[in-house]
């Protein structure tokens, strides 16, 4: 979230699209009901199904799965055509006026630079026109045909309400009603928030779904403002923390891009990742990259990381390709990886195409599963009849289960969707032989290190020289880890302007990332978390709910990254010239005449006033937000509608004559999976998977109470489809995709209706995911028997939300 949970109460309009907050985030949904009652806000829901969120909404519009970009592109077109744009904001705070290279182009659904063989783009042309000093050229009048504003207008002019209806199946009047409601928040006194979740991410173009909405929020002037922002509702209580701490192979902690084969030296690596300013007088905060990185290396390698050895840069793995989970299972499937440790991960249930994942796991020599409970993955080798029809005698994988504690049996932190890091205390000890994940990792590491110390090995340094200075090396405490993540001064940290002035004494915990240095004098395990455990103590454990701001920015409750800031880009909540809030009643920060101050931690240097010309989007090299994303995205600088990889239409209605762009031309798909996609003639129905309030992923089917309130697997279909197929409510049905099949009971509902997509009638089949073959709920099929092994090109998130199936009575 750019904003945070409580802040939803400040919105005038709440759009739920690409998510179902009432269903999946019932506790956070209280802030929606708060806004409805106390701000008289309106709630709009756009979803293929009439959901629990829709049940309490002011307005609902249906949409075909996988067509969000067309819908939102239509909204952009509506806003541009009807002057529903916060122009002062857009001119000052976005790159609308920036000029794009003459050779950038968009034709037949492809942007310039496409390489069909590689399924990727050369992004050279997706760039600004630069002057001699390397600064971008701009046209403040927005009239230059090469400026972003004009290119954007022309790009989205194709997304007319009629086109939206044809692509999305949303009746034109309903689309226009939603567009009008969204457009109404373009005035400075109105703010819209958008709450989305996996309904946008789990697509072959998921990142672009979100980007399209980010553009809308920028055009409305809603980013940086109380009650606004682009807000990802994270599904797991600590999935935000996981992302922050780099469990993605392509990242280091704090979203630093990890080195690749091309980064042969630290200098190369740092140069590639340290952006040069694209406009004068900007903060270009990314220029601090070397400070963050060197401090990380000092945390990991301590005294062994020195300037002379490039801060131990050579000890980091260098990626020679992708190592995300989709790629990893592809490698396992190809026999290239033969040992695997799963910790808090149930891939047989969680990854697409269960058949492929199961057969990949059967190729492993050994598999370690660290879990509090039995999971489908730990039982993948066992025959459960139709639900897991394998021959154990053919599977040679040795499976070792290490009983772990669960979250409630362990202290530590959760980082919530709003980036607020909150300490929690253990409620009980793990039962039986269960150990905390920290102890299990500590035990594995200390033994591994002993083995390297004894036997040597090809490259022992990264293991032997790793800092592991915990009181009990076999069982690091959560407190020690959080202190380490925050970081400390290794030598006295002095003021760059006055070296005699000591800011932090050697040995002290750092107060924030402004103290980080690239000379080896600071250690910090994750720069964005710096400040969470300062000399003041564990700030994540703070529980002061007092709110002098009146807008829910409780600055003494936990610690929000970065810098305890509650709303990102909050400089944009003020007029560019005066520095005074667009809406004084919902003020984040304001310019006092000498500094930024107010109800939040300013997201700009405190002294960079309105006259400085510094923009609010400090993480870009030009200080403004990018309506044109340059090379930031894999599939284009503007979003474009592409069909899901399995499309009920068979063509992309935006480009009916170009078969290359039916689906996202840059999406991640492995050659071996190209044949696994089904076609509409055999699988005519658009399917989507989702979660239900009563369950949490594949865990709570182990819990009796959850199983009582949601006992048995079902699929949802509309009354019209049920009638066509002769299926009645409660009847057992078989749902097939080109990859597998499941049987489940049918729930026939008015809440799903056939949509008319340009004369083609599209039915949906809804598939809740929570069942499997272990647990106390009624045994069921893994929904991922059906889903396709294809992913977004930026995040490698699989396309669970839009694929094709057939359905019949079982």
């Amino acid at each position: 979230m750019t904003n945070h949970w409580v802040d939803i109460k400040n919105a005038d309009l709440i759009l739920i699209m690409g998510g179902n907050a009432a269903e999946a985030h019932p506790c956070g949904f209280k802030w929606v009901t708060e806004a409805l009652e106390h701000r008289k806000a309106k709630l709009v829901v756009v979803d293929p199904r009439f959901t629990r969120s829709a049940a309490v909404a002011d307005y609902y519009a249906p949409i075909r799965v996988g067509t969000d970009i067309a819908f939102l592109g239509g909204v952009i077109n509506y806003m541009l055509a009807n002057n529903k744009v916060h122009m002062d904001y857009v001119k000052a705070f976005t790159n609308a006026s920036f000029l794009i290279r003459e050779d950038y182009d968009f034709k037949d659904g492809l942007f310039s630079g496409y390489d069909e063989a590689k399924r990727s783009y050369d992004k050279t042309t997706w760039a600004y026109q630069l002057d001699k000093e390397g600064y971008a050229l701009v046209d403040e009048t927005l009239e230059n045909p090469r400026c972003v504003w004009q290119l954007m207008k022309s790009h989205f002019s194709r997304y007319t309400p009629e086109t939206v209806e044809k692509v999305c199946g949303t009746p034109k009047d309903q689309f226009l009603k939603v567009a009008e409601m969204i457009g109404s928040t373009s005035t400075p006194d109105k703010v819209m928030t958008i709450c989305y979740a996996l309904g946008w991410t789990q697509h072959s173009k998921g990142s672009q779904n979100i980007r399209t909405m980010a553009m809308i929020q920028l055009l409305l002037g809603n980013i940086g403002r109380a009650g606004g922002g682009v807000n990802a509702l994270r599904g797991h209580s600590n999935v935000q923390g996981i992302t922050d701490m780099c469990t993605f192979s392509a990242n280091l902690p704090g979203y630093m891009v990890a080195p690749t084969d091309a980064d042969t030296t630290f200098a190369d690596f740092a140069a590639r990742r340290t952006p040069k300013p694209l406009r004068p007088n900007q903060m270009n905060f990314g220029q601090n990259f070397p400070k963050w990185f060197v401090s990380l290396q000092k945390t990991w390698y301590g005294d062994a990381a020195v300037k002379e050895n490039d801060w131990a840069f050579d000890w980091l793995p260098k990626r020679d390709g992708a190592y995300d989970v989709m790629d990893t299972f592809e490698r396992i499937h190809q026999g290239k990886i033969n040992g695997f440790i799963m910790q808090g991960f149930n891939p047989l249930a969680a990854l697409p195409n269960k058949k492929k994942v199961g057969s990949a796991m059967a190729k492993l020599k050994w598999l370690v599963v660290i879990e509090p409970l039995k999971t489908e993955s730990s039982e993948f080798w066992k025959n459960y009849g139709e639900l897991n029809n394998v021959k154990p005698e053919d599977i040679q994988t040795e499976v070792i289960r290490l009983p772990a504690g669960c979250f409630a049996e362990d202290p530590g932190t959760f980082t919530n969707s709003g980036r607020v890091i909150q300490w929690h205390w253990a409620g009980a000890e793990p039962p039986g032989e269960g150990k905390s994940d920290r102890e299990i990792i500590g035990q594995i590491f200390t033994r591994l290190r002993a083995a390297y110390a004894k036997d040597g090995g090809k490259f022992p340094d990264p293991i032997l020289k790793l800092t592991w200075a915990y009181a009990n090396p076999a069982h690091p405490s959560a407190e020690e880890l959080l202190r380490e993540i925050n970081g400390r001064a290794l030598k006295d940290v002095t003021d760059p302007k006055d070296p005699t002035k000591v800011l932090v004494t050697a040995g002290q915990q750092l107060p924030g990332f402004a103290m980080l240095r690239d000379d080896g004098s600071t250690a910090c395990g994750n720069w964005i978390y710096c400040g969470v455990w300062s000399q003041a103590g564990n700030n994540s454990a703070r529980r002061d709910a007092s709110d002098p701001s009146g807008i829910g920015n409780t600055l003494n409750w936990g610690f929000a990254w970065p810098a305890n800031r509650r709303v990102l880009y909050n400089r944009a909540n003020t007029d560019p010239k005066t520095g005074q809030p667009w809406d004084p009643k919902r003020a984040g920060i304001r310019w006092t005449g000498s500094a930024w101050a107010g109800n939040d931690i300013p997201d700009i240097a405190p002294a960079l006033g309105p006259d400085s010309g510094a923009g609010p989007f400090i993480m870009t090299a030009e200080g403004v937000a990018r309506l044109f994303s340059l090379g930031g995205m894999a599939e284009g600088p503007f979003p474009e509608h592409y069909e899901p990889f399995e499309t009920p239409l068979g063509v992309n209605p935006m480009h009916p004559n170009n078969p290359k762009v039916v689906s996202n031309p840059a999406a991640r798909v492995f050659k071996s999976d190209m044949g696994s996609f089904g076609k509409a003639d055999e699988f005519p129905y658009a399917a989507t998977t989702y979660r239900l309030t009563e369950h949490f992923h594949f865990w709570t089917k182990n819990v009796e109470l959850n199983a009582i309130v949601q006992p048995v697997q079902f699929v949802e279909i509309g009354e019209d489809l049920a009638k066509e197929k002769g299926i009645s409510n409660g009847q057992m049905v078989k749902v097939r995709s080109n990859r597998g099949e499941i049987k489940a009971l049918a729930v026939v509902t008015k809440r799903m209706r056939a949509l008319d997509c340009g004369g083609k009638k599209v039915h949906h089949v809804g598939i809740p995911i929570h069942w499997g073959f272990v647990g106390v709920a009624k045994p069921g099929y893994l929904a991922n028997e059906l889903t396709p092994y294809v992913a977004d090109a930026n995040t490698q998130t699989p396309e669970y939300k839009a694929f094709l199936v057939n359905i019949e009575k079982a």
Partner: protein
């Protein structure tokens, strides 16, 4: 609950405990416009009351499908299509309404099996229940259920054990959206009226507070967005205690009592004339 004063007891004529400082009538307000049907209330109810309903094979949102001795509250989901084709998904938390004039208590022939506390809560005292099911006939909302396990009637107690120690009902405590509220009845009526006004301002002209006068008002009330049509939510439009219950209380009961007396008398004469029943030799003891 011994810590609460009792206003009425079933089939009893002796005085009820009355010594405590006057207890305010209480009420639970269910604001349907804020309810997302998450069932946190159902789970909290089962947890607090140590109940575990069956894990059935009934698919979908309505689960458990009905009230039972193990489910004292359930969510009811209804899909309603308006004249304009717009759909509504009406979700109602069902359970005991705690009537000011409780039909169950009126109908109950078992002394002290049903009590109404001074605060308005209607509670089943299970040890006194004889399992006759008259409370079911007496209830205009079809709430009580007889357990197959012990043949006694069960229903929501409004967490009288929690209320007695100053806590709110478990369901209210668990509700994440503020749909469930609990407090003094007059405050809840005022709160409900405010919400009805809010909803009217939002364009829901039919919004209304459901506090049916036919049963003297209830200590569980609803804010209904479609207040003109309680039936859409599965609620009776104008609930009243069945006339048969009044009949049973007014005429039938004394008649039956006479009949029962005659039967006892007959048995006595039977005993006097025939003597005690003797066990057959070798019979089961």
């Amino acid at each position: 609950m011994q810590s609460l004063d009792v206003q009425k007891r079933s089939a009893t004529t002796t005085a009820s405990p009355q010594v405590r400082v006057a207890e305010e009538p209480v009420a639970k307000l269910i604001d349907i416009s804020k309810c997302i049907g998450c069932k946190a209330c159902q789970v909290a109810c089962m947890q607090w009351n140590d109940l575990r309903d069956e894990i059935t094979s009934h698919p979908g949102y309505n689960n458990p499908v009905d009230l039972s001795d193990q489910s004292w509250t359930v969510m009811r989901f209804a899909e309603v299509e308006g004249k304009d084709g717009r759909l509504e998904w009406l979700i109602r938390k069902d359970g005991c309404m705690h009537c000011e004039d409780p039909g169950c208590l009126k109908a109950c022939p078992a002394p002290g099996a049903i009590v109404k506390y001074a605060n308005g809560i209607v509670d089943f005292v299970s040890e006194n229940c004889i399992g006759c099911g008259y409370c079911i006939a007496g209830c205009p909302f079809n709430v009580p259920r007889i357990s197959k396990k012990d043949n006694k009637a069960y229903k929501c107690s409004l967490c009288s054990d929690r209320i007695a120690v100053g806590q709110s009902p478990a369901c209210v405590k668990a509700c994440p959206t503020g749909s469930l509220m609990f407090g003094a009845k007059d405050e809840m009526v005022a709160r409900g009226a405010k919400r009805v006004n809010d909803l009217k301002e939002r364009g829901l002209a039919q919004a209304a507070l459901y506090d049916p006068p036919g049963v003297g008002g209830t200590h569980v009330m609803y804010v209904l967005p479609r207040g003109d049509r309680p039936d859409l939510y599965g609620l009776p439009v104008d609930p009243k205690i069945s006339p048969w219950v009044s009949l049973w209380k007014g005429i039938t009961k004394p008649l039956l009592a006479i009949g029962l007396g005659l039967a006892v008398l007959g048995a006595f004469f039977h005993y006097v004339t025939r003597g005690p029943k003797e066990e057959e030799p070798g019979g089961k003891s």
